[in-house]
């Protein structure tokens, strides 16, 4: 038990890291469910990558790393990315997955070049941006997360009905008069804001993991939207805590450990989800194969 309590006594970096990580995990898990249902999980990948050019461009325009400006700049770049992806994928010969790939890699490359030529002396650390530093969260990163989380979650709560109906059936939502396109762009902006706010603390790749993996796990386990949201948030929080303690115990990267813990949780759900877990299906099949009296259930 001392193992669980001890790190908290070593200094305030523990609670700062934990607070940041959990807030980012909760927001990402909630937004991730809506993205997942819209089959837009990989847009999260794109948006998390464009947070880098977003931050760099905001810095180039304003000359400061002020939190609000950075969030604003990143939200703008995120919105631009979403619009660009949609526009490119509307071209007759481009599929949506290729459109995502073209747009985000282009912006990421631009961001890397701007970073290496224009802002060499600013305090933007690529390693930190990509991999995060949960145990070294700066005041700015902490306050960004603390301020953006209630705003994003509040917006989700306000637009909950619209979001849910348009996630399951966009045409029906359109027929009901829901502004589907505006809602989509709002969701994209919220994802980018969350990615940027959580960026410094947890890194680009971890943000992707926190957005995509919990929702996918929730889809394996839950049957309703509310259930999915609950499982998704639970997944994010459990992965954060398990990963953090793993990181401290083994002296490894906290961001990476949280991702791996989340991936492991998904693997468990994938294999052992009640009903359609791969392990149960495999066992059912092998039992049936051996001629034992096992009722065959329909696939799925």
């Amino acid at each position: 038990m001392t193992f669980l309590i001890e790190p908290w006594q070593w200094g305030d970096w523990m609670w700062r890291g934990m607070l940041t990580l959990n807030l980012v995990a909760i927001t990402s898990a909630v937004l991730g469910v809506f993205l997942y249902l819209r089959r837009m999980s990989l847009i999260a990948d794109a948006l998390a990558h464009v947070a880098l050019p977003g931050i760099v461009m905001a810095f180039l325009v304003t000359g400061s790393l002020d939190g609000a400006l950075m969030l604003g700049g990143a939200a703008l770049v995120g919105l631009f990315t979403a619009v660009a992806i949609e526009w490119v994928s509307r071209q007759p010969t481009v599929r949506s997955d290729a459109a995502i790939g073209v747009v985000f890699t282009a912006l990421f490359a631009l961001g890397v070049i701007l970073l290496s030529t224009r802002v060499r002396d600013a305090h933007i650390d690529t390693h930190c941006l990509l991999f995060g530093d949960v145990l070294g969260v700066s005041d700015r990163a902490l306050s960004l997360v603390v301020w953006s989380t209630p705003v994003v979650l509040g917006l989700v709560a306000i637009f909950y009905r619209w979001l849910s109906v348009s996630s399951f059936d966009a045409r029906f939502a359109l027929a009901l008069g829901v502004p589907v396109a505006a809602l989509n762009y709002g969701l994209m902006s919220a994802v980018t804001v969350t990615a940027v706010a959580g960026f410094e603390a947890v890194g680009a790749v971890l943000v992707i993991a926190l957005i995509i993996v919990p929702a996918a796990t929730a889809h394996l386990l839950a049957r309703s939207l509310k259930g999915m949201l609950a499982v998704s948030v639970g997944h994010g929080i459990i992965a954060s805590w398990v990963g953090m303690y793993l990181a401290i115990g083994l002296n490894i990267s906290a961001a990476g450990a949280v991702v791996v813990a989340g991936g492991a949780l998904y693997a468990l759900a994938f294999l052992f989800a009640p009903g359609h877990g791969r392990f149960w299906r495999w066992r059912r099949r092998s039992l049936a194969h051996r001629g034992q009296h096992q009722p065959l259930s329909p696939p799925g």
Partner: protein
């Protein structure tokens, strides 16, 4: 100042393409080869609607490299490349495995594999860093690529593997093209689509691993996606798309390597990608197959014909 700097640019560019320096030659060769190989393999990935599997495979090389380093204890290139290859293949196969079956969406499967593998790679790297033997120089080179650091031996390997890929694509051209355009039809003909798919995944992994030295793990996806996507605006037929994609990839490699030589601090990978993006934008605007300008012209002439005939 302005004219002076453009003069410097052109003299440096001429210096690069004059090939009087070995390292410039190696960088050029590496970048062009990478562009060509990615253009070739990427064509099949993009046409199959699996563009982003390349992104996942690129990110997924990280744990393989780290494990190879942990096992061998050295930074010897062959071992690290083998590790990268193994984990890229594993990632590509995991994606196809999980995305089959109920309650899993293919796009989410890509994201899950990508982030979990990359997270594992970061964990292992941080472990290596913490251990006394591990000094991890060159991580950023690994992430963003540096064609100038490629050695002649590595170029030989890349050229050889590239030639092998070209031959394989040539041999399996008909079944591959059938599968790319109509998988069910290919299946009904009795083609082993399962094995072809596996072979395609292996080719993808090889292309990714060959490319990471020059363009880095994060941007390898760009070289797999952007040239073929641009090429689709240029031709309706598979050979045309393939050829245009290879050409765009190769030229992007050459110009990208030159830019990274001329401007200090600009990594090769991002430079190549931005050149490819320029080609994509040009193709999007002027490409004969669905480009914006030809489409607008066609629409206009159709309207004029309609007006002349009195149809409004």
């Amino acid at each position: 100042m302005k004219t002076g700097s453009t003069e410097i640019f052109w003299s440096r560019a001429a210096e690069f393409f004059s090939l009087q320096y070995d390292f410039a030659l190696y960088a050029l060769l590496a970048a062009v080869l990478v562009g060509v190989i990615c253009g070739l393999v990427g064509t099949f990935m993009v046409l199959r609607g699996m563009s982003l599997v390349g992104d996942a495979a690129g990110h997924a090389t990280l744990p393989g490299v780290a494990i190879a380093f942990l096992i061998t204890g050295t930074k010897s290139a062959p071992a690290l490349l083998l590790g990268a290859l193994a984990s890229a293949v594993l990632a590509a196969m995991t994606i196809t495995w999980i995305s089959r079956g109920p309650r899993v969406r293919a796009d989410a499967a890509i994201g899950i594999v990508l982030s979990t593998f990359f997270g594992l790679g970061i964990v292992l790297l941080s472990y290596i860093q913490a251990s006394p033997t591990g000094q991890q120089a060159g991580l950023s080179e690994y992430l963003f690529g540096n064609a100038a650091a490629v050695t002649p031996a590595q170029i030989g390997v890349v050229a050889l593997a590239g030639a092998l890929l070209v031959v394989l694509v040539g041999v399996f051209y008909r079944p591959l093209s059938l599968m790319v355009f109509d998988e069910r039809f290919a299946q009904s003909l009795g083609l082993p689509t399962h094995w072809l798919e596996l072979g395609l995944m292996a080719a993808l992994a090889v292309a990714v691993v060959l490319s990471i030295q020059a363009v880095g793990v994060i941007l390898v996806a760009a070289m797999l996606i952007i040239p073929p996507s641009a090429a689709r605006f240029l031709s309706k037929k598979l050979p045309g798309v393939m050829f245009a994609s290879i050409l765009i990839g190769g030229i992007s490699g050459a110009i990208g390597a030159m830019i990274s030589y001329v401007y200090e601090g600009v990594a090769t990978g991002p430079a190549m990608v931005l050149v490819a993006v320029v080609f994509f934008a040009l193709a999007l605007a002027f490409g004969p197959v669905g480009g914006a300008l030809p489409r607008a012209l066609r629409r206009r002439s159709a309207r004029q014909i309609a007006l002349q005939r009195g149809l409004r």
